[in-house]
């Protein structure tokens, strides 16, 4: 190893560390701030760790977030179940069964993942209100299921494309119908794909804000954690330590998934990007 290479390495690691600092700075200052008293927030640098750490901001913010966190969990579970199930059926049909205009129909379906929701917000609000689902958990589960289907279908169609046609053809020769092939061959051989799509959908529904804001009905109704955090931020403009603690509460499920299941989540991002 010569000097030029050593020098190159030092520059590279220096660059990587610098950017790590930049990317972690908002989260780091949130963590340090959330452990401080209001007096210490005003006195010390946000980068510095508190001299007398306190959990008071976490307790205070949890008080207004605990209900919404549970609501978010229920909405997310329901929305993931619905969109993954229906999206997986689409992915199977559009990757393994040929019929007239199949690509065109799939494109119409996939386009649903890209429309700006502002263009359907008035009809959506009217529909959910007419169904008496405004401000209810089922209303939000229905909405997330519907708008989750296109992305799930795109992801599953990619993953199912990797199942060899010969296995499917053999099963068809043996007299199995599409439904049976789906349950007996496609689903069991693609557990990993399902894990990828579930983590992807979990994070996107958990993170969602607009539907929760419009259809959740606010305080005391089906208000998800993202909306509650935004409200907390709006009502406590100067109490940074409570806001930061609230942000950490709301981010926690996704951060845990990112740390444990990051590999699968990244595969979801990549598959969505390459074909989406």
């Amino acid at each position: 190893m010569n000097w030029k290479r050593v020098f190159g390495r030092i520059v590279l690691y220096g660059g990587l560390l610098f950017f790590a600092f930049v990317y972690l700075l908002p989260l780091w200052s949130a963590i340090t701030t959330s452990l401080k008293t209001p007096a210490e927030v005003a006195k010390t640098s946000a980068l510095a760790f508190p001299t007398h750490p306190t959990l008071a901001p976490f307790i205070e913010s949890f008080d207004s977030l605990k209900g919404p966190l549970v609501i978010s969990l229920i909405i997310t579970a329901g929305g993931v179940a619905g969109s993954v199930l229906l999206g997986s059926m689409c992915g199977y049909v559009f990757s393994k069964i040929r019929f007239k205009y199949d690509t065109f129909v799939f494109l119409l379906l996939a386009a649903g993942a890209f429309i700006p929701y502002q263009s359907i917000l008035v009809p959506l609000f009217t529909t959910i209100s007419k169904l008496h689902l405004f401000g209810t958990i089922p209303g939000l589960i229905l909405t997330h299921t519907a708008y989750g289907i296109p992305m799930c279908a795109i992801l599953f169609r990619n993953f199912y494309g990797a199942i060899p046609e010969s296995i499917i053809n053999q099963a068809m020769v043996d007299g199995a119908g599409p439904w049976r092939i789906y349950r007996k061959i496609v689903l069991p051989s693609t557990v990993l794909a399902t894990v990828v799509v579930v983590t992807f959908q979990f994070t996107s529904i958990w993170n969602e804000y607009l539907f929760g804001l419009l259809l959740g009905g606010g305080e005391g109704q089906a208000m998800p954690a993202t909306v509650a955090l935004a409200n907390l931020k709006g009502s406590l403009t100067a109490a940074w330590e409570v806001q930061m603690a609230g942000a950490i509460w709301a981010a926690l499920p996704v951060l845990i998934i990112y740390i444990i299941m990051g590999r699968y989540l990244i595969r979801g991002y990549m598959t969505g990007a390459v074909k989406g």
Partner: protein
């Protein structure tokens, strides 16, 4: 098509047909109807809402701000490319760095907007304090609290959130270039930045195009971050926040649906050619 196939896809297709296409049509009808406030009525009234839009200075400000947000695309791609090049070197521990850079992308816009509200708080915020302590006090700013620096602040924060994602897309593109090509180029004397400029980057056209389109969609559709960072006002509206304001704060559903349709057209101009070409490639 067999009957059982139809049964499998009928439920999801009905969902999408109703929630996407029926609602799109419905939204267009509302925008040309005589609806007043939140009460929807369906007599054809004409294109008055669109004429009102053209005469509304808030619409032009929103459109300008939406287009200004597109500046985050070249910034995210440039920064993503730099990060991808650094991670592409055969160094130890790059996986950890990759996960750190991508982490913001996994977080909700509501959370990142809360974090950035503190980062860019005008008086005692993290960035202003940091700038002062390293002697760059002249760079302190009012950030999102002043109309002039609002969009700039949003772009900085969103580049922080998206550049890890473009890094992933570009890094995957770099890894898929055959090793033999890189060796051949190295034998020809290309190395370091030259190797990237001459050999690697020209082969990243497709990943860069994907990143470009996806970021453009994110930029045009971005609502959560803007709405949470600070409630937008007349001069900081984008099309998305302006639409929501008209719908939810003014209860003018017909006008709101007209704004929504403008956004839809803007998006379709980007999505249709991209989806079409992407699947044409896939078919071959």
């Amino acid at each position: 098509m067999r009957k059982s196939t139809l049964v499998i896809i009928s439920i999801p297709l009905i969902f999408i047909f109703y929630f996407v296409y029926v609602m799109m049509g419905w939204n267009i009808i509302v925008s040309v109807s005589d609806s007043i406030g939140a009460a929807l009525t369906y007599h054809f009234k004409g294109f008055g809402q669109y004429i009102k839009l053209v005469d509304d200075p808030r619409f032009w400000t929103s459109l300008k701000n939406t287009l200004l947000l597109l500046l985050l695309i070249p910034c995210s791609i440039g920064l993503g490319l730099l990060l991808a090049m650094m991670l592409d070197q055969k160094l130890k521990g790059t996986g950890v760095f990759r996960n750190i850079y991508l982490m913001p992308f996994a977080l909700s816009f509501v959370i990142t907007a809360t974090l950035w509200a503190w980062m860019c708080a005008p008086t005692d915020g993290v960035l202003n304090n940091l700038l002062r302590s390293i002697g760059l006090g002249s760079l302190t700013s009012m950030w999102y609290t002043h109309d002039e620096t609002f969009i700039m602040t949003v772009i900085i924060a969103l580049v922080w959130q998206f550049s890890g994602y473009t890094m992933m897309i570009l890094l995957a593109g770099m890894k898929s270039i055959p090793q033999s090509q890189l060796w051949a180029a190295e034998l020809d004397g290309a190395s370091g930045f030259r190797l990237y400029r001459r050999v690697v980057i020209p082969q990243l056209k497709l990943p860069i195009l994907s990143a470009f389109v996806i970021l453009m969609l994110y930029a045009i559709k971005s609502f959560d971050f803007l709405w949470v960072l600070t409630e937008p006002t007349n001069s900081t509206f984008t099309l998305t926040t302006f639409m929501y304001y008209v719908m939810w704060k003014r209860w003018d559903f017909a006008y709101a649906s007209a704004i929504g349709n403008v956004l839809l057209v803007l998006t379709l101009v980007i999505v249709v050619p991209y989806l079409y070409s992407s699947y044409r490639r896939g078919e071959k």
